[in-house]
Assembly symmetry: C2
DNA sequence: CTACAATCTGTAGCGACTACAGATGCAAGG
DNA sequence: CCTTGCATCTGTAGTCGCTACAGATTGTAG
């Protein structure tokens, strides 16, 4: 696997090294470059990508924003805002708050879902009874929880 | 729009009528047929789909299962189980419980996310201050919440 | 020098639809 | 009967955020 264990990746930062450093998949890095999120790095003599600290930082920024659930388009906006340096804080905050609102809504929906499903599962004995309450609920002509 | 308002869709149930009855998009209905979730209905003289009650029921079943967050593959399984009528209840319950567990986990993740984001947003004043705490957090070399 | 690993480009696949384009079908009005 | 105009038809491509190949090249350790 690793050919040495003391010094880590002494040479130029290839895409594999960047992947290890940032925790972002190699294919994903190339994908980010293709869609213009990560600027194309300089290449070695044999056309291999050589990255610098700026790329690494930017990629980590992207990864973290993704972990916070921002879409790639939102990440693009955040990166643009970060670059322009003016009136950014308000815009970032607004974007974030929208995002929080969306997350809250999703949580509400999921919790409602979870309640419905666990109710159904609780009513289901798991025996070989003729009818299953879950299938019944799905088949019932009218239904309480999500009627269009 | 509607050419009459007393009797609703007197003639044969075309795909548009089925869509209205079930709340499922026309294109989605054709999609379900294409992937084999909905059996191909008989056609009119001019090759238009004519649906019966069984199709409608099945489509409503699918819609409800989707609303409960089951994937199309899971829906396929549920439909298969419903058809076979034996030992179904236990299998359905197991599927549902797995599903509930997955939902709970997702809710946990989202709530953690929401906390982090709203903390960040709260720390952000929204003024034209030089630095934005949100961007700072995204840029920080180390980070508390989601460190790989 | 020879293996073998890493990287390269380009393309296609995933899930669950949605959105067209361009060709027909069908029902009502004149 | 004929036109008008919507509905429906098939087929294909786009969405999002990757992931997984294939087949060619490059880099590196022994």
């Amino acid at each position: 696997m690793r050919r040495d264990n003391t010094k880590m990746r002494a040479g130029p930062t290839t895409i594999g090294a960047l992947s290890e450093n940032t925790g972002v998949n190699v294919e994903t890095i190339r994908y980010y470059e293709r869609i213009g999120l990560l600027p194309p790095p300089p290449r070695s003599a044999g056309r291999q990508r050589i990255y610098g600290d700026a790329h690494c930082q930017r990629l980590v920024f992207i990864r973290r924003a993704r972990e916070l659930g921002f879409s790639l388009e939102e990440v693009r906006t955040l990166l643009g805002l970060g670059a322009s340096h003016d009136m950014t804080c308000a815009a970032v905050r607004s974007l974030t708050q929208h995002h929080v609102a969306a997350i809250r809504e999703k949580v509400r929906d999921l919790r409602r879902l979870e309640r419905t499903l666990s109710d159904l599962a609780a009513r289901c004995q798991g025996d070989t009874v003729p009818a299953c309450p879950i299938l019944d609920a799905l088949n019932a002509p009218t239904w309480q929880t999500t009627q269009r």
